[in-house]
């Protein structure tokens, strides 16, 4: 158990407490949803878990108020948030386009976009030639392996059907 002097030195884990509040809402929402279930076999387990989640979240908040323990969250000073957002957006958009453009084209588009997002080195002539070739090679290689060898029915795309 932390001593009083420890508690005075450390800040409160406000982000952790805020997330605990979010988890209380998530659990409450889950509890509310269990009221729509008719069979006790369906709701006993999730409602018990949701109640436990609320109890632990409240305990986390109270514990932090009494014994501030500081945040143990990961931080990366100087990291680029726009690139992070762009990566997630590129993955989501290419996935959304998959049924229309097909896996191959949306895969090449996703690969090229993410390559640009992850690029920190200068675009030399070598890179300008090799990287796009690698992009197409990797996507076509994986596509062939999954679609032709492993027989995974990758989307062909509505535009090409």
């Amino acid at each position: 158990m932390p001593t009083d002097s420890d508690a005075k030195q450390r800040p409160r884990d406000v982000p952790g407490m805020l997330m605990a509040v979010v988890f209380i809402f998530v659990a409450a929402f889950a509890l509310w949803d269990t009221t729509n279930m008719a069979d006790s076999d369906s709701y006993v387990f999730p409602s018990a878990v949701a109640i436990a989640m609320i109890v632990f979240s409240i305990a986390l908040i109270v514990w932090n108020l009494i014994y501030p323990s500081g945040s143990n969250g990961e931080t990366m000073p100087g990291a680029s948030t726009p690139r992070r957002v762009a990566l997630v957006a590129a993955m989501l958009i290419s996935t959304a386009l998959m049924p229309y453009l097909g896996f191959l084209i949306s895969g090449v588009a996703a690969f090229a976009a993410i390559m640009l997002i992850a690029m920190y080195d200068p675009w030399t002539r070598y890179r300008k030639i090799v990287y796009p070739l690698v992009c197409v090679g990797v996507v076509v290689g994986f596509y062939t392996m999954f679609a032709k060898v492993l027989l995974v029915p990758l989307p062909a795309g509505l535009l090409f059907e």
Binding site: T34, L87, M115
Partner: protein, 502 residues
Amino acid sequence: MPGIEHLLEALTPLNIMLALAGVIAGTVIGSLPGLTATMAVAVLVPITFTMAPASALILMGAIYTGAIYGGAYAAILLNTPGTPSAIATTFDGFPMAKRGDGDLAVTLACLASVAGGLVGAVFLLILAPPLASVALAFGPVEYFWLAVFGLTLISALSEGNLLKGLIGACFGLLLSCVGIAEISADVRFNFGSQTLLGGIETVTALIGLYCVPVLIDLVATPDKHLKVTHEPRGFRLREALRISWKGKFNLARSSVIGTLVGILPGAGGSIAGLVAYSEARRSSNRTEHFGHGEPEGVQATESANNATVGGGFIPTLVLGIPGTPPDAVILGALLIQGVRTGPNLFADEGSIVYTFIYGLFLATILMLPAGLVIGRYAYKTIVTVPKAMLVPTVAFMTMIGTFAIRNNVSDVVIMIVLGVIGWVLNRFGFSPSPIVLGLILGSIAEQGFVQAWTIGAATDDLAAMFFGRPISLAIIALILLALFYPLVRARWLGRRRKVNAD
């Protein structure tokens, strides 16, 4: 004890070639996130239909063994378990790779996998019929307590904040409830969405929660993915052998745990790895290093998950009940071959069974050179490929691998969304491991609990159902030991230090 003729039959050039090809194919498939050992075996099963039963079994066993080991590469080098069996390998494997010991971690994983695979095969060879009865002794309530035992690992995974670990595990347990309930078939937590009707696939969640946060952070800075040491260090085999010899008891214990968990139908390599990791951490005198790149952690999980291969074959061959999902595929292939599994299999078709078991030994031994070479290549590729190539390749692999699980675009969306949630939670100090643990153990715990509750209520003796069965009591004792041993040990050490000081 089977005779030498079966050993010689397993050592024909064709069988040796099949075992080597199977191990290589399995390792490569297993190393790709999203492609599990089950998928590796299922995809390659049709090739075996024209083969002799023993050769077919050897090939399938080799693919399975290789795939379980291959999962370690992505776990160590990309923080993404290639197969669910390698979840616990990420805990220490990735931190080892981050500090520049990825090559050592890969070699350690190979040695541990070989050791575990051999122990599993020995149990299969010598103790298959008596051990198969253990599988039958496990009822719903035992599975429930086993899942609870797995959940005690949360204290190990929550990195200094038990409450955050418990909240994360509850979140994972709730995620495991999404979709159609296994017992009552009620639709739960889909909020009207067709996408969530099928639930959240464990592998989808694994890739999302472990791999996407790594990608999000990779693009944020120009820093290298892993620390690179410029002097070539080869396989670091001597160093790995020395560490493995030092951790021989850990290897032996984890292999036995893996075999025993593998015997239990449905439990699988992920639970074996987690239980072995928990035990290794509990009994180690370097407990505080676990989760920060402790080689013992990699040894424990990799030996345990490969031991499940031999362990899983015990109920498959003796009882016709598949111990793990890939065993179910192999069982189907066996039936097509005309091999009838059951208690008389070892007597009636000893030639096939014992040749296969020796073939499993062969495949496991061949995994050492094959695994070391492929592992070295994988490590070199990951550390030398420029970030602008590595990130899109891994991102594309996660997308195509996730899609291939259920041939569903929605799974890819779920994977990305879970990845973002995992990244955000990490910022707030919530580790993804308890969430994954809850997700995996949720369905086992719920099914066991509800079935046991129903039986207990029907027999009007709930207490006896949950607390009156010998195996349940033994698991409960292990749970209490896992929970309170660190406390008791700390007090005991404190008292001893005080006595020494006096």
